[in-house]
């Protein structure tokens, strides 16, 4: 985790949303963990019409002007990384 | 029934500001209700809930067919009622709560209603 360029904090949650480990800006940030868990439960209800075959999402990014949160589910754990946007602004173009 | 209650409670926790879900018959008599402590007492009474029946009858006079849903917003609350006659689903929520999200719950409740509808229809 520490090797991700621009990383300024991370959270590792289990399936129930309990914090397993954390560092940097997100150290013991249970409030953010709660919000992200809420977001993930909402996501499971997103429109099946627009997304055929019930395929889920793999990655969720929440992009602010200077930094972003990247959220991934892997191995029954939820990884949340807070990182600075790359200088060229490529991360912001959608 | 217990299972139904569990599912409804889950829905209640999904939407912020949703205080209460009631499934009643057309007279407003609750078949099942789940509520948080913030639910206003008056609004969960049959006398209030049964006005929905009158309202949709009036609404049908507009010539657009039978009304499906009724959304009433008040200064502190909003009431969303869905026509599933012989049953009525009522949601009581804060006025700031997400109306669209509550309407979206309909599709989760629909499959639960099948058995209830049969039960209510039998007794009438």
């Amino acid at each position: 985790m520490d090797r991700i360029p621009g990383q300024i904090g991370y959270l590792l949650l289990n399936e129930d949303g309990a914090v397993i480990s954390s560092s940097g800006d997100l150290e013991n940030d249970e409030k953010s963990a709660d919000i992200v868990m809420g977001l993930i439960t909402l996501t499971s209800q997103i429109d099946p019409d627009a997304l055929p075959n019930h395929e889920g999402f793999k990655k969720l990014s929440i992009k602010y002007e200077g930094h972003s949160y990247i959220i991934c589910l892997s191995n029954r754990k939820i990884h949340i990384v807070k990182k600075l946007n790359s200088v060229d602004g490529a991360a912001l173009s959608v | 029934m217990e299972e139904l209650r569990k599912i409804l409670l889950e829905l209640l926790s999904k939407v912020p500001g949703l205080y209460c879900v009631l499934i009643t018959d057309r007279d407003g008599v609750p078949v099942i209700k789940v509520l948080t402590d913030k639910a206003p007492d008056l609004a969960t009474r049959p006398s209030f809930l049964s006005t929905f029946g009158l309202a949709i009858d009036q609404g049908s006079k507009l010539g657009l067919g039978k009304a499906k849903t009724l959304i009433c917003t008040y200064s502190q609350y909003q009431i969303i009622q869905i026509n599933k006659l012989p049953l009525i689903i009522s949601f009581i929520a804060s006025d700031t709560s997400n109306t669209g999200h509550i309407l979206g719950l309909e599709k989760y409740i629909d499959p639960l209603l099948v058995n209830l509808t049969v039960a209510v229809a039998d007794t009438q």
Binding site: L39, F57, K58, S61 | N98, G100
Partner: protein, 89 residues
Amino acid sequence: MEKHLDRVMDDVLSNPGVTSCVFVDHQGLCLGARGKASTECAGIIGAIADQAAKLEPQHKSPIIVFENDTRACIIQRNGTITGAIFKNI
């Protein structure tokens, strides 16, 4: 009245890869939808934007992007209106 929104939605849809778009008001009610998205998902989209905005309330509302290998869903709130775009990538 909604001509302007209709035009914006057609504009959005004309971008390459965009399959559908939905616009939602502050109550989570659908203002308009184009493409394959149903109007029913409006509430969820509003709720997602609300929830994500809680993360850093002091900042401007963020852009929320859901991705898998082939598709992306982009959501952003602007004032009272929330827009969502579904696209193939």
